[in-house]
Symmetry: C2
């Protein structure tokens, strides 16, 4: 039986100085919540950074004291698992803009002593990565063996390889895209509108009062439709009724899919901040490796800067970031003569497949990391 890393603990890192953001604003006195598993070796060349998706946190594996549920990627991270904590030093940090310990709109604004609300600067995926870079520097990791992430975590991983090419030996990009599509933006925008339509939202200034739970629940339900996909819903729910023999002929939940969505919405508001949902989805919508001139003003393919080896995996039933988009990304990498492995994984469960148990994915990842461990020896730090 595979083992767990056991007890895990979230630590907090104060960002030194101010963090200059893409909107030319600065974040002052920022905090990054993070966890680490395994040991950094003497050569400091066995570190892996895990980047989480929209609603994730720093707690990727193991169990917090007294908790019955492990971290969000327990199936993948641990002794003998694909991301083997006996071999690798694994770091996972909560993203900027979130509400799980890292600075975000629900954090205290040092300028006012009150929660930021919409005074928190609008951030980008690159800003999240800049904050992570400070943490990696603090942990005295000169180069990451791999950066790994799915969905919005994949965007961060991708950004790492472009922004800090010398610091990333490889990257594993799961169910992600190099450019947020109109469809993905549309879903996010409607979800944001649902939050902003909630009168309790109060232009983001609700921390002293009632939270916009109704709006956030609807936003989450919209998200869940995109995570599941048509095929997943057919398999999971079909037209089955929820605890009844016939239609209710009222506006209760008749179908299992309705109950499921309502439950997901309700559960989510207990643990997530509505403003964080706004900020993180906006960062995802802004994400596009190509069009804005990068720091050096270059309009060349962003991959001309990259040096990493890539493993890219998409999932057949993922309609949010479909295989087509992964292929476009892989094509751009290959045009830049990069070392890239691509795999489309047969999966019923839509976008969320990257979070689910999959022998195929585990084997792909452990094999790739194995190779990276060997090959990185030829590129001494």
């Amino acid at each position: 039986m595979k083992k767990t890393i056991g007890p895990a603990e979230t630590k907090y890192f104060q960002l030194p100085g101010s963090l200059l953001l893409d909107n030319n604003d600065s974040l002052h006195e920022g905090t990054i919540a993070y966890e680490t598993y395994g040991q950094l070796n003497k050569a400091a060349d066995n570190a892996i950074l895990i980047c989480h998706a929209l609603s994730g946190d720093a707690h990727a594996a193991g169990f917090h004291a007294g908790a019955s549920k492990p971290g969000w990627w327990e199936i993948m991270i641990g002794p003998g698992k694909a991301i083997d904590t006996n071999r690798y030093f694994v770091v996972c940090s909560n993203i900027l803009g979130s509400c799980m310990g890292t600075s975000g709109p629900s954090s205290l604004n040092p300028a006012t002593g009150l929660a930021y609300g919409l005074k928190f600067p609008v951030i980008t995926i690159a800003d999240m990565v800049k904050a992570q870079k400070q943490l990696i520097d603090f942990l005295a990791i000169p180069r990451l063996l791999a950066v790994i992430g799915g969905s919005i975590g994949g965007m961060q991983s991708l950004e790492w390889t472009i922004r800090y090419p010398e610091m990333v030996f490889s990257a594993i990009l799961l169910a992600t895209t190099q450019r947020h599509s109109a469809l993905a933006i549309a879903f996010n925008e409607v979800a944001r509108q649902a939050i902003m339509a909630d009168p309790n939202w109060q232009a983001g200034d609700y921390y002293q009062g009632t939270k916009p739970d109704m709006g956030l629940a609807v936003a989450r339900m919209i998200g869940h439709i995109t995570y599941l996909s048509d095929e997943a819903m057919r398999h999971k729910f079909g037209r089955r009724l929820q605890d009844k023999e016939d239609f209710s002929f009222n506006f209760d939940a008749d179908f299992q899919v309705e109950s499921y969505l309502r439950y997901q919405g309700k559960k989510f508001v207990e643990r997530f901040d509505a403003n964080s949902f706004l900020y993180i989805t906006k960062a995802a919508d802004y994400f596009d490796l190509a069009p804005r001139p990068r720091a050096d003003g270059s309009l060349k393919s962003p991959f001309s800067r990259a040096r990493a080896r890539y493993l890219v995996a998409s999932f057949t039933s993922d309609w949010l970031y479909p295989t087509r988009e992964s292929r476009a990304m892989v094509k751009a990498m290959k045009k830049n003569s990069l070392d890239v492995s691509f795999c489309e994984i047969e999966a019923k469960w839509g976008h969320d497949a990257f979070l689910l148990e999959s022998e195929r994915l585990s084997n792909l990842m452990s094999g790739f990391l194995d190779r990276m461990g060997r090959e990185s020896q030829d590129y001494a730090l």
Copy 2:
């Protein structure tokens, strides 16, 4: 140049007696709003019924007095058009549960003298068809040459052929399904949740106060995503910004797709009732030709009752009612030895394609109707 039928006028038909509904409730003193174009011939065998989709109305063609915009299917209905008003007597009625003249939750409840709100009975597609049947009887039409509809209008057309097989010579089913999928239910449910989350909704009892416009706007935006599809959005919007050179770094609409959705939401609340949205989407979710025993208790294929000739058309980019579902329907028809023509039309614009100008669709429909006009002569009334 193709001509219009010119002035059009909505008329109102009082349902005689009570209408027994699928939920075993009855609708008392119901009204049906309808329009007619062209002339019923002496044989009374040239009548075509048009069934509209979610937010449509009885005004399918021509111009109301003083109006600058024609009816919603002007491109298809008129002299010399696919549904040729020189040849056919065309009827279009507003569906039960709507808010465009036919009885619905915003109508006055004769029992109280106030708007029904949620006291309006929860209806089904079959109930809409039962009401239409009363109108067709009133118009002294013994048999419809064709029933035509797209989306929810297609469901009504399909239901007509099963419920009143002797009264329907043929049916044209566009962008529709014989069974609402889990995905389609999921979208509708989240849209309903958005409405019901609006505090102005007041459990449906808002007609004396402020309308739940915010919730209804979000619901409409969700709908618009499903009408457009991934491909349509890529063609129509891509990642183009709305009237700006760079990101706003706030929660305004940055992208054209965001502006489009916001505009659609805002425009919709001016003309549509939130409760009607709840009722009609629920009717669509309930729609399934197969599983509930029909009136005669039969569990055989519902198509075993059908006698109509069918033209079924799906659209390549329609992800709400994808071609797969049309094919399943066509297969079931063929198993029952029915006369069915099927066509998948190449279209970029997603589900809404059936409402857009398409020479292919026009030709298909006029050809089919032509054939039906000839063949129906062999089946005297």
